[in-house]
Symmetry: C2
Subunit: 589 residues, 2 copies
């Protein structure tokens, strides 16, 4: 049976709704696919739910095809397993916590590593039981600080999360590759453009991690690509480390009076005027910019941290935060400066920094700050800077951190050429967890020698509801939505355009014939709606093909429009079913 | 591809698990269909999830078939709509409440009347838009005081809830009937025995309500049936009202000294000894038992209530509670008696009760307490009772309440014969809500005369996860589970019983041929497991047919067992695929 606009629970909106944020999101709201239900909460209307279910089905089929087995956990879980791994605290405000009538602590799970680990521990005991991959398609909860564009970053959303369990690293590698292959097939079948980028393995201690991103200018994630094929999330980009330099001939460091030079620009200008270099002018890259932040660790303890980067670059807050997880990074405010009088705002220098220094404040530097490099930097006194401060001679950082911004044109770490920056929406993430969770929750099996070994795990996520949003953003145009055929609510939007029984009867007949031929139809059979409104709605709703039965029916002709290209074609009414069937027959794009 | 026991994520348990409560529940745990995840929380393992998904699919298809449209709301919802209808408070401890990072109040929805009402209000404005029926298959939360048997009454569970919206009562009646028909088809297709019983329309103000119960001695709901076809939930049973009696000739009421008679038994014995009736002995039914309880209303106010029933019957706590909803009923404790010195424990009588009396304590009586009936009852003084107290002469109740227990043999209210009591599990509930929610949330549409009219609603629920539990309880036997074919994880459990390549190869070949013929197979291909263990597992797991490829293969014979009946049949190996296909071809039972 065709869907019918006359009875479908949908109302299109001419105006942009107040809560619209992005073009695809606006179109989903205007076309009546979703509705806002609260901050970071949305309701699927019938058309949207149809798309959602199609995405879910493709994900399920491809997971089943790699032998992953579907289970289903509650979203509401007791606190204890998450306490055992520390995530009850680490998640901070992002976790929805609640109490039951007996005052026991529960959470709405943001992800399920703990309980999957415990389930396998519960059932399995031997290497013979492994490998196993389990998945669920399930509702997750995160109390996001900044929910975005309905489905894109919601507080309640659906994820397919799977977990692999292997007895050794080679097994994990194989499970990881199987998931990677399944994800490629899923996104190809869905017709969503994607790139695979290296991602942070992060504080979880895993060894390999990749993200699947749908490229779009409205994406929240920044990634880089090189002509030679390198691709990485910007948080994961590593900086090529230059060789150490000899510094035997370097002059001794000397502090100079540099009044009113709190910024790199003012400092470089002052240095060029009062202390010019013999070889070339001072440049921002000759300066060492030291940025102090306040870290809060999961246990609540606080610690200042200074990060040193070449002065021509800013610290990238997201890269910095990713490196320091699960600690949270905050601005070092006036109260913090007051509590640390050694730190002179605008004139921070490494001479007094480092675990071994008088302040014992941790000091991490950009990978470009190698031994032998000479810097113009703060002298820890208002209006004073130090020249020719040599790394490895005059100061010793506590380590290296990837916190400097990445720029168009920076070299790829693998030598594959200059990087180009782009944006995308994260639609999948695959991750070698390793043994972190198995160790925390004591998941061991007997190996072939009868020895207990800790299981190694992978974790693999796809944002099922987010994919609908990502496809909407990827496929939206000025007229509205434009779905890839495999997930469109129907393949053909059949418009009965005009009055008269013949038009209606023909539209009804064609709808029935198309459905009988396996082509799903959304039939606009609304009796008192003008052709103009129907065309606008058809464009907004975004079925791949629009079939118009109108005035030219008198000549035996109907019109087929391709929603994506806008191409129009007159087809004999008797041939149009065959025409549309033939069009649908090739493999979905 | 067949399911394979060698890789399936399942471990059967020989022992009864500690958390097992009922036979079907025990079998679901032992067979590895579900696993406990916390109080009132469970995890679906692969076999269980397969059954669950089949139930879900049948429900979805039948809802679609009556033109209901699927949507999906969040489970996490802001408090405001539930405050508007009073349910934020009324739900009491049963509601999971939580706060987000901005300290706003949220709930995990136990049911979604409010937001469906608001959604229709949002999109629709005219009688031309109606009728519409919307549904969702969605996870619900209730902080049950006493969760039971895993899936049977959980704190997180899946419901199909639908809501109909009509412009008038005739429309509601038609929507209700359509849902009723769909429910009948759903339960028939699932192969679950069921009865339809009248249910309480309750405090919600609706006019018609029926429950679908799966009869089983372990059910929580009590219902009644008569030989003439009457069926009702025990809460909904109404008592035939006897005609009023003349009382002109009745003697005046007289108080007698009745020491040490706090119970009906002691009172009747005392009366027969000291104040014998001329016509026959005193019977418990001649006494009027007055039970005082404390009501707590949703607004927190408290009020004593006295209920009078013939002394041969107890007050049924569930019937009483159902009548008084949303107020909560509590025991009248010693403190309450102390605060109400007029009420003498064990000697309560109606003379001082009623809104118009000196105490103004509300007094409701059983329908059998009609005008002219004469009672032996408490005299509101320790050790004293009153004889010949006539209803309508000596006391006037404030109204009638259906709170007395219903007994086997009581007459059906429609005259269709004596009632028989039985137990069942509620698997569906259909309900004419009427205009309560539409009024509270102002859902109006313009009628054909351009006048605003309030929409009338129905609400229809099916416990999708509970159905799996109900079927397990209905079909379990001493050996384990025994699924109806339409929802079994596979139709055939194929046991390769014995060693030798020929047995394994034949089992593999038959599995492949059966799957190719559309018969789903669970293949027990475990290499180091004995036939005895495999048979036990096959019986426990409960596929409708067990196909044994064993020693008799040498004679060209395999065995087909029917799990439900236990019948065994030898079939030629070359004929067995055709045999099983033919068996599966008739409509599912």
């Amino acid at each position: 049976m065709p869907l019918r606009m006359s009875t479908l629970f949908v109302r299109t909106l001419r105006e942009e709704p107040a809560d619209a944020e992005l073009p695809g999101h606006t179109a989903l709201l205007r076309a009546g696919y979703i509705r806002r239900a609260g901050t970071g909460l949305h309701t699927w209307l019938p058309l949207g739910h149809r798309v959602y279910r199609r995405v879910e089905q493709v994900v399920r089929e491809e997971m089943d095809a790699i032998g992953a087995q579907e289970v289903h956990f509650p979203a509401l879980l007791p606190k204890e397993p998450y306490q055992a791994t520390g995530r009850w605290e680490e998640y901070g405000d992002n976790l929805f916590r609640l109490r039951d009538r007996r005052d026991n602590d529960y959470l709405l799970a943001p992800t399920h590593e703990e309980v999957f680990t415990l389930l396998v521990k519960d059932l399995y005991a031997s290497y013979k039981d492994l490998p196993v991959s389990l998945y669920q398609i399930q509702t997750k909860y995160r109390d996001e600080a900044r929910p975005r564009a309905g489905l894109l970053r919601g507080r309640e959303f659906v994820m397919k999360d799977s977990y692999s369990f292997d007895v050794d690293d080679a097994g994990l590698e194989a499970s990881y590759d199987a998931h990677r292959g399944a994800y490629v097939r899923i996104f190809e079948r869905l017709g969503i453009p994607f790139v695979i980028v290296e991602a942070m393995s992060g504080a979880m201690g895993g060894s390999r991690s990749e993200e699947f991103l749908a490229p779009t200018p409205v994406g929240e994630d920044t990634f880089v690509r090189s002509p030679g094929g390198y691709a990485a999330n910007v948080e994961a980009v590593t900086t090529p480390v230059p060789p150490a330099l000899p510094f035997d001939d370097a002059p001794a460091a000397h502090v100079e009076d540099t009044p009113a030079t709190p910024t790199i620009e003012t400092l470089v200008a002052f240095a060029n005027e009062h202390h010019p270099r013999p070889d070339r002018p001072w440049r921002p890259a000759d300066t060492l910019k030291n940025v102090v932040v306040m870290l809060t660790h999961p246990d609540g303890s606080r610690e200042p941290l200074v990060v040193g980067v070449p002065g021509d670059r800013d610290v990238d807050a997201k890269r910095l935060a990713a490196q320091l997880e699960p600690a949270e990074v905050a601005v070092f405010d006036d109260d913090d400066f007051a509590a640390h009088p050694h730190l002179v705002k605008g004139y921070l220098g490494p001479q007094i920094l480092g675990a071994a220094s008088e302040t014992s404040i941790r000091y991490l530097v950009d990978p470009r700050v190698v031994t032998g490099t000479r810097w113009l930097t703060g002298a820890n006194a208002e209006g004073h800077h130090v020249f020719d401060l040599v790394c490895g001679r005059d100061f010793t950082p506590d380590g290296v951190i990837e916190a400097a911004e990445v720029r168009d044109g920076d070299p790829a770490p693998d030598g594959s050429g200059p990087l180009e920056l782009a944006r995308g929406i994260e639609i999948g993430h695959i991750f070698q967890l390793g043994r972190k969770y198995a160790e925390a929750l004591d998941l061991k099996v007997l190996d072939e020698h009868g020895k207990l070994v800790t299981v190694t795990m992978g974790s693999y996520g796809i944002g099922v509801s987010r994919i609908v949003a990502a496809i909407a953003e990827a496929c939206v145009d000025d007229l509205g939505l434009c779905w890839p055929a495999p997930i469109a609510p129907a393949r053909v939007h059949l418009v009965a355009a005009g009055k008269g029984e013949e038009i209606n009867d023909t539209a009804e007949r064609l709808a029935a014939e198309l459905e009988a031929a396996g082509i799903e139809v959304l039939l606009d059979d609304r009796p008192r709606v003008s052709p103009g409104v129907k065309f606008k709605d058809a464009e907004l709703l975004g079925m791949p093909k629009i079939l118009v039965v109108g005035k030219r029916l008198a000549d035996g002709v109907v019109e087929v429009r391709d929603r994506a290209s806008g191409e129009r074609e007159d087809v004999a009414v008797d041939a149009v079913v065959g025409h549309l069937v033939a069009d649908a027959s090739p493999a979905p794009r």
